[in-house]
C-alpha cells in the first residue's frame, strides 16, 4: 500500500502512531513491509489458502461474533441436499459441466429453492462478466429460507463452511503459501482479537488482488472473514478496494464496461431480454425480498434520460434502441477479434494496452490490424506509436509501411484542465474545479463525446434509416460555454441526479423514480447528488465543523450513506453493539432509526418487524435483515448464486504454476476463461509435463515513482529520474542459481515473449520452502515501455491471456518464466528463442491446456472431453 497508494497510507501510519499493529503479506519486502510490525512473505497466488486458514482458525476456535453471525449472515440457512462440496469432489462442486467448463448452480441453492433461484447454467453469464452487476445488489435468491438457529444441522451454511475449510490448517498454510505456521498464527490471532463488539477491523485490498484467475474468490474469502468477525456495516470495518486510478469506482458506477449500464443495470442480451419487461424482470426477480424490486422505475428513468421526448411508455421508452450483447465482448476477446480482422475501428481513452494489458504483443498485433484507431491521451503513448517503434517492428512482425491501421492521435485535457467528479472507493463523489485551461488542441472527454455525437447527428439528419433512429432520437442538448463550446459538466451531473420531466425539478433520491416516464435519471444510484438544486458533491465543510462521519464533505451514493448495511452496526434489537462502536441505532421513543450516518434501512421499520408470508420487495425485509439489497436480507458466507466458480472459495493454483495443487486433484480454477487462439498460450503446469522449462514464478506490480503503464510518469522528468530503468528484483539465492549479478543484465522468457531488465540482487526477496520444494520468485515493475524519457521492455508482455470467470479480469499478477543472464536477442532471433522454449515446453499455440485435471468431477457420470490428465 505504501508502494502503490502512499497518500492513503498516511492513515495507516497515523494508526501506527496511535499504537496499531500493521501486518504485511507480500511476495517481496516492500516499502510497506519496511514500516510493518510483521511481514509475511507469501507464494504469489495462494491467498485463498492463507485466508481460508484464517476462516478455519475462526471456526475451529469458535471465535466468530456469534450473535452477529446468527442474525445477519446466512450461517443458519439450510442448503439443498443435492449440494456436493469441493472437499468431496477433489476441487469440484456439484453441477460442473465439462462441455462448457462452467457450473449449473441448481444444486448450490438453499433447500427447497433448487428450481426457482439462481441462474441455472452459468456459461453465458461468464461471457458477459455478469458478476459485475452484483456490485450494487445480491444475486437472485428466493427470500424465504429454512434455518437452523442452533447451527447444528449438517447442511446449514455454518457446518458446510466448517467442513469446507477444515483442511486449511496452519500446517497446510505453511505447505501451500510458504508462510511459517507461527507467523500465520500471529496474523490470525491479531485479526480475531481485534474484532467483536468493542473492536472492528477493516480489510483493504488493491486491484492487483483482482488480477487472478480466482480473483473474485480472493475477495469472497476476505468477505467471509469479515462477516464471521462482525466487521461489516460497522464503523472501522468493511472491505475497501484501493483503486488503481482516480475514479475507477466512478467508471463502474457509470460504466466504461461492455456489459453494464449506469447503476449496475445489465446491458440487455439479445436472446434473454427481447423486451423491456423481460429485461426488467430479470433484474428485479419478482418475489424476491429487498430494494431491487423498483428496477422498472430505474430502467425507465435511464431510458428517458437517454432518449428524452422520444421515450414513451408506449414504445417501451425506446428500449429497442439499446445495443444488445451477443456474447463475450470483453477487451481480450476484442483484441483477438482484431487480430482475426473482425474489428474495424477502436477508440482508446486513458488506456495504454500496448504496455498496460496482459500479452502486450497480442495487443499491438491487434491494433496493427484495424482500419482506424483513435488514441486520446496526454502524451504520445506506446499504443499510438506501436506501428512505428514497437518491438514487433524490430522482429519484423509489423512493417510500418504496410501497417494498415490509420492512427489518429488527439491530445486530451488532464484532470486539472477540466471540471467534473471523482468517485473513490468509499463511493464518495467529489466535485473538482478546473484549475487551468488545457493547452493547444487538448480537450476534455466531455467535449470530445458531446461534439462527436453532435456531428454524427448532423451528418445523419434527415435519414429515414431505422438504424439511425437511436442516434437521432437521443436527448443531446447540453448547454455549452467558452470559445471551444465546452459542455457544462454540472448539467451532466444534474441529468445523472435525475429530474421530473414536466417541472424540471431535481430529484432528491431514487425513491422518487417513476416507471411511467415522468422522471429521467442518468444513474439511479447517484440520485440525490444534486438534491435541492445544489451540487452536493462540491460540499467542502471542514471536518472540524462537523462530526467524525463528515456527512457534509462531498456526497456518497446511495443517499449520501457513508457505510453500507449500517443497520448491522446495531444488534438485532436495534441497540448499538457497544458504546465505542455506536453508529446507527433504533430510537424507540421517536419510533425511527437514527445515528451519525444515513440509516441503511427503512427509517420507521422497527427491529421487531416480521414480514407477512409471501411478502416481496422492501416489505419482505424483516426488522433484523441488515443486508437489505440481498434477496434473503443476509450477508452471504455461502453464495448460492452470483459467483460462477463456486459458492465457497477454494484454493486453486494459478493458471501457470510450478507446483501441483497440494489441496485438490483439480490444479487450477476449472471455470477460468481461456482463449484458444494462435497468438495465445499458457506455460505448462503440473500435472502437465515440462513445467520445469519455466521454473520460476514472476509477479509484477507498481513502484511508487511510476503510474501504471508509465504514460504519466516516464514522460515527466522529476518522476522519470527516480526509477529510470526497467529492472528485475531477485533474491541472492536465485542470483547465485541463475548466475545473475547486481546491475548486470538478465532476460526473462515465457511462452509469449522475451524481455530484458537490469538486475537488482536484494535481500528483500526470499526463496520459499513450499511443499518440500524451494520456490524462487522474481519481481518486476510493469511501468516500462518504448516511449517517454525513460524506456524499457514491458513486463506485461510475458503474460498470456487467462481470465477470472466472474468479471473477465486477466491473470496478470503471476506467471512462470525462465531467467538467464545477459541481454536478450534482437530482431527475428528473439522470436526464435520464444519458439525454442515453446518447443521444449510442448506448447502448441492456440491449444488450451487441460482444464480438468481429476479423473471425474463430482456429479459427473462420464469422463467429459478428452483432455483429462492424471492427477
Amino acid at each position: 500500500m505504501a508502494e502503490a497508494h502512499p497518500v492513503g497510507f498516511q492513515w495507516v501510519m497515523e494508526a501506527k502512531r496511535r499504537g496499531a499493529k500493521v501486518f504485511h503479506v507480500d511476495p517481496r519486502f516492500t516499502r510497506t513491509s519496511a514500516v510493518a510490525d510483521t511481514y509475511l512473505p507469501i507464494r504469489a497466488g495462494t491467498d485463498i489458502a492463507l485466508l481460508g486458514g484464517v476462516v478455519n482458525h475462526i471456526l475451529e476456535n469458535e471465535l466468530d461474533f456469534r450473535e452477529y453471525v446468527l442474525s445477519y449472515t446466512n450461517a443458519a440457512t439450510i442448503v439443498s441436499e443435492r449440494f456436493v462440496d469441493a472437499e468431496d469432489g477433489d476441487g469440484f462442486f456439484s453441477g460442473f459441466d465439462p462441455e462448457t467448463g462452467s457450473y449449473v448452480q441448481d444444486s448450490w441453492q438453499y433447500a427447497g429453492h433448487e428450481s426457482d433461484s439462481g441462474s441455472g447454467h452459468t456459461a453465458q453469464e461468464r461471457d458477459s462478466a455478469a458478476g459485475l452487476r452484483h456490485e450494487s445488489h445480491g444475486a437472485q435468491v428466493h427470500g424465504e429460507t429454512l434455518r437452523d438457529e442452533t447451527l447444528q444441522h449438517p447442511r446449514c451454511v455454518y457446518q458446510i463452511l466448517k467442513r469446507h475449510f477444515a483442511r486449511y490448517t496452519p500446517e497446510m498454510v505453511e505447505r501451500v503459501c510458504g508462510i511459517p505456521r507461527e507467523k500465520f498464527l500471529e496474523l490470525a490471532r491479531a485479526w480475531t482479537e481485534n474484532s467483536g463488539r468493542e473492536r472492528t477491523g477493516c480489510l483493504i485490498y488493491s486491484v492487483g488482488w483482482t488480477q487472478h484467475s480466482v480473483g473474485v474468490q480472493y475477495i469472497r474469502t476476505g468477505a467471509i472473514i469479515q462477516l464471521l468477525l462482525g466487521n461489516m456495516g460497522r464503523p472501522g470495518g468493511g472491505i475497501l478496494a484501493l483503486r488503481g486510478h482516480a475514479s475507477i469506482q466512478g467508471s463502474t458506477d457509470i460504466p466504461t464496461l461492455f456489459n453494464l449500464l449506469p447503476g449496475y443495470l445489465p446491458m440487455p442480451h439479445h436472446a434473454d431480454h427481447p423486451t423491456f419487461d423481460a429485461w426488467v424482470d430479470s433484474i428485479r426477480h419478482p418475489g424476491q425480498k429487498g430494494f431491487w424490486g423498483n428496477a422498472r422505475a430505474f430502467g425507465a428513468s435511464l431510458l428517458k434520460a437517454y432518449w428524452g421526448d422520444a421515450a414513451t411508455p408506449e414504445n417501451d421508452f425506446c428500449y429497442g434502441h439499446l445495443p444488445r450483447l451477443t456474447g463475450d465482448h470483453g477487451t481480450y476477446q476484442q483484441v483477438l477479434n482484431m487480430i482475426d480482422g473482425k474489428v474495424k475501428g477502436y477508440f482508446l481513452l486513458g488506456q495504454n494496452p500496448a504496455v498496460g494489458s496482459a500479452h502486450g504483443r497480442a495487443q499491438r498485433l491487434g491494433m496493427a490490424n484495424l482500419d482506424w484507431l483513435v488514441v486520446r491521451d496526454l502524451f504520445m503513448i506506446e499504443s499510438a506509436t506501436f506501428w512505428q517503434n514497437g518491438p514487433e517492428v524490430a522482429t519484423g512482425e509489423i512493417v510500418p509501411e504496410q501497417c494498415r491501421t490509420e492512427v489518429f492521435f488527439l491530445p486530451a485535457a488532464s484532470y486539472v484542465e477540466k471540471e467534473g467528479t471523482f468517485t473513490q472507493t468509499q463511493r464518495l463523489v467529489q466535485w473538482r474545479e478546473k484549475a487551468v485551461d488545457p493547452p493547444g488542441d487538448a480537450r476534455s472527454e466531455l467535449w470530445f463525446f458531446y461534439h462527436l455525437g453532435r456531428r454524427l447527428r448532423e451528418k445523419l439528419a434527415g435519414s429515414d434509416q431505422p438504424r439511425d433512429r437511436a442516434l437521432l432520437d437521443l436527448a443531446w442538448d447540453y448547454p455549452t460555454h467558452g470559445p471551444h463550446a465546452e459542455p457544462s459538466a454540472e448539467a451532466v451531473l444534474r441529468e445523472i441526479n435525475g429530474y421530473d420531466v414536466t417541472t424540471g425539478r431535481l430529484l432528491s433520491s431514487f425513491a422518487e423514480a417513476k416507471d411511467d416516464g415522468s422522471t429521467a435519471i442518468g444513474c439511479w444510484i447517484y440520485s440525490g447528488v444534486y438534491a435541492d438544486g445544489v451540487n452536493q458533491a462540491a460540499r467542502r465543510r471542514s471536518r472540524h465543523e462537523q462530526d467524525w462521519v463528515a456527512a457534509e464533505w462531498g456526497w456518497a451514493w446511495p443517499a449520501n450513506r457513508r457505510i453500507l448495511y449500517n443497520r448491522a452496526s446495531a444488534d438485532p434489537q436495534g441497540r448499538p453493539w457497544s458504546e465505542r462502536k455506536r453508529y446507527v441505532w433504533w430510537d424507540p421513543d421517536a419510533g425511527e432509526w437514527t445515528g451519525y450516518d444515513v440509516p441503511d434501512f427503512e427509517r420507521t421499520k422497527p427491529p421487531t418487524y416480521r414480514p407477512p408470508k409471501g411478502a416481496a420487495g422492501p416489505e419482505g425485509i424483516a426488522g433484523d435483515d441488515a443486508f437489505v439489497m440481498q434477496g434473503d436480507g443476509k450477508g452471504w458466507l455461502y453464495a448460492p448464486s452470483g459467483v460462477l466458480d463456486g459458492p465457497l472459495p477454494t484454493h486453486f493454483e494459478p493458471a501457470e504454476s510450478p507446483m501441483r495443487n497440494p489441496l485438490y486433484g483439480q490444479q487450477a480454477n476449472p471455470t477460468r476463461k481461456v482463449y484458444a487462439h494462435p497468438v495465445n498460450s499458457v506455460n505448462p503446469s503440473p500435472p502437465q509435463e515440462h513445467s520445469q522449462v519455466f521454473p520460476y514464478v514472476f509477479t509484477v506490480s507498481r513502484l511508487t515513482e511510476h503510474h501504471t503503464a508509465g504514460a504519466m510518469s516516464r514522460t515527466v522528468r522529476p518522476l522519470a529520474e527516480l526509477q529510470p530503468e526497467m529492472f528485475v528484483e531477485v533474491s541472492p539465492e536465485l542470483a547465485a542459481e541463475a548466475g545473475l549479478t547486481h546491475l548486470g543484465w538478465a532476460h526473462l522468457i515465457s511462452g509469449r515473449a522475451v524481455i530484458e531488465a537490469k538486475v537488482l540482487v536484494t535481500d528483500r526477496l526470499t526463496p520459499l520452502r513450499v511443499d518440500g520444494r524451494v520456490i524462487h520468485q522474481l519481481w518486476l515493475p510493469y511501468h516500462f515501455g518504448f516511449e517517454g524519457l525513460v524506456t524499457g521492455d514491458s513486463a506485461n508482455d510475458l503474460f498470456g491471456i487467462t481470465l477470472d470467470p466472474n468479471v473477465l479480469i486477466q491473470e496478470s499478477k503471476i506467471g512462470t518464466c525462465d531467467v538467464r543472464p545477459g541481454r536478450r536477442p534482437t530482431g527475428p532471433a528473439l522470436r526464435d528463442l520464444v519458439a525454442d522454449y515453446q518447443r521444449r515446453a510442448g506448447i502448441i499455440p492456440g491449444r488450451t491446456p487441460p482444464m480438468v485435471t481429476v479423473r471425474r468431477p463430482a456429479g459427473q457420470a462420464d469422463e467429459g472431453p478428452g483432455e483429462h490428465a492424471d492427477a
Partner: protein, 365 residues
C-alpha cells in the same frame, strides 16, 4: 558562548544577522521512523523550485537513483538495506530457505557504478567499502558476509555469487532472517553557523528573517568557496551553469505564509515544518515515545545547539548511526577556527616581519 564574531556556539541566527523584527526561527524536523520512501518531497521540491533532473541512471543503491544532495537534488531520499533487526515482531525471513545476506555487497557494487556527484563528503563514488559499511550497519562482519563457492568469506567484493550454497542447506548461522529498510529524506541543514554563508565573497548567500540560509542565484558568481566549506557536502555547483545551488527552505513560500513544498507533499508527516523550538520539543517527545515502544536506537541528529555547527535548522530523527545514512557523525563549521587561524597568521606575519627587520638590522652591524 559565542565570541564576538559568532562563528560557533548557540545563538539565534536571524537577529544575529541583523534582522530587527525577525519572527521565530523556522526549520524542518524530519522523522525517518515514519518515512515510507515515496520521494514525494523530491518531486515537490523540483516542481516548485524548477530544479532540473539529476540524470536518468539506475544506480542500484536500493531505490535511490538520484544518489546524493546535489545542485539538482535539494531533497534526497536515502534507502539503506540492512540485514539487521528492525522491530518486526518476528524476523521477516524467519523460516524461509535463505543463504547469507547480500545488502552490503550490492551496495558496494552500486557505489562503484555511480557517477561523481560533485558532492563531498557523504558517500563518494567508488567508496564501495563505505557503502558496504552503511548497509551492514556498522558491523563489518555482517557486511562482508558474501561467500565464495566454497562458502568461505571473501571480503566485501561482490562476486555475483552471494549464497552459492544451495538454498535452504545453510548451517543456519549464515542465513539471513532479519532485515530492515531504512529511508531518510535528507536536506540542507540550514546551520546556525553556516560556513557556506561565512565564506561567500559576493554576498550571494544570506541569512533570511526565518533563520534559514539562501543562495541568491542572480548574485552567485560560481566561485565555489561555499562547496568546500559545507561540513555536510550539501551545497553544490551545477554543471554547465557554474553557480551554487541548494535548498532555500522554500523562501518564497515562507514569505507568503506557506509550508515548504516538501513538507506540504509528505503524506506521512515525516517532514514537519515549523518554529524550531516547537519542533525540538516535538522531536524529544517522539524519541521518548519510540524508546517506550522498544525502539532504543531512535536518536536525534542536528538538534543540539551546542554541537559543532550550533545546531541545525533542519534536524532529524534517525534509527541508526548518522554514518549509516551518509551523514557526518560530528560536523563542525569549517570557519570555527578562522579567528584562531587569522590570529596565528597574523602572529606569523609579525614574526616574519620582525625577522626580516632583524635580518636587515643585523646585516648592518
Amino acid at each position: 558562548m559565542p565570541d564576538a564574531n559568532s562563528l560557533y556556539g548557540p545563538l539565534d541566527p536571524a537577529p544575529d544577522a541583523g534582522w530587527v523584527q525577525a519572527g521565530p526561527r523556522m526549520g524542518f524536523f524530519t522523522d525517518t521512523s515514519v518515512c515510507i520512501g515515496c520521494k514525494a518531497c523530491e518531486v515537490a521540491c523540483k516542481e516548485w523550485n524548477g530544479v532540473p533532473d539529476s540524470g536518468f541512471d539506475l544506480l542500484g543503491m536500493s531505490y535511490d537513483n538520484t544518489g546524493a544532495l546535489t545542485a539538482n537534488s535539494w531533497r534526497h531520499v536515502a534507502f539503506i538495506e540492512q540485514p539487521r533487526p528492525a522491530g518486526h515482531r518476528t524476523p521477516p525471513f524467519a523460516g524461509t530457505p535463505t543463504g547469507g545476506p547480500v545488502s552490503a555487497t550490492s551496495a558496494a557494487v552500486a557505489a562503484g557504478s555511480a557517477d561523481p556527484s560533485g558532492t563531498d563528503p557523504g558517500v563518494p563514488p567508488d567508496a564501495a567499502d563505505a557503502a558496504a559499511r552503511m548497509a551492514a550497519g556498522g558491523t563489518p562482519a555482517e557486511g562482508t558476509a558474501a561467500t565464495g563457492a566454497n562458502g568461505a568469506a571473501t571480503g566485501t567484493r561482490f562476486l555475483g555469487m552471494p549464497g552459492a550454497q544451495p538454498p535452504g542447506r545453510g548451517t543456519g548461522a549464515k542465513e539471513r532472517t532479519d532485515f530492515r529498510w531504512l529511508m531518510m529524506s535528507d536536506v540542507c541543514k540550514h546551520c546556525t553557523h553556516a560556513a557556506c554563508l561565512d565564506v561567500c565573497p559576493t554576498g550571494a548567500l544570506f541569512r533570511t528573517e526565518f533563520g534559514t540560509v539562501v543562495v541568491q542565484e542572480d548574485i552567485c558568481n560560481g566561485c565555489g568557496y561555499c562547496i568546500s566549506a559545507c561540513p555536510y557536502g550539501v551545497i553544490d555547483q551545477r554543471r554547465g551553469d557554474g553557480r551554487a545551488w541548494k535548498c532555500t527552505l522554500c523562501y518564497d513560500r515562507l514569505g507568503a505564509g506557506m509550508t515548504p513544498a516538501c513538507a506540504q507533499a509528505c503524506p506521512t508527516e515525516s517532514i514537519q515544518y515549523g518554529p524550531l523550538d516547537e519542533l525540538r520539543e516535538r522531536a524529544a517527545r517522539r524519541v521518548a515515545q519510540l524508546h517506550g515502544r522498544g525502539v532504543p536506537e531512535a536518536r536525534l541528529y542536528g538538534h543540539d545547539p551546542t554541537d559543532g555547527v550550533g545546531g541545525d535548522g533542519a534536524f532529524f530523527l534517525l534509527l541508526d548511526e548518522p554514518e549509516v545514512y551518509g551523514l557526518p557523525p560530528d560536523p563542525v563549521v569549517t570557519t570555527r577556527d578562522l579567528p584562531k587561524m587569522w590570529k596565528r597568521a597574523g602572529w606569523a606575519a609579525v614574526a616574519m616581519a620582525a625577522a626580516a627587520v632583524a635580518a636587515f638590522v643585523g646585516g648592518q652591524s
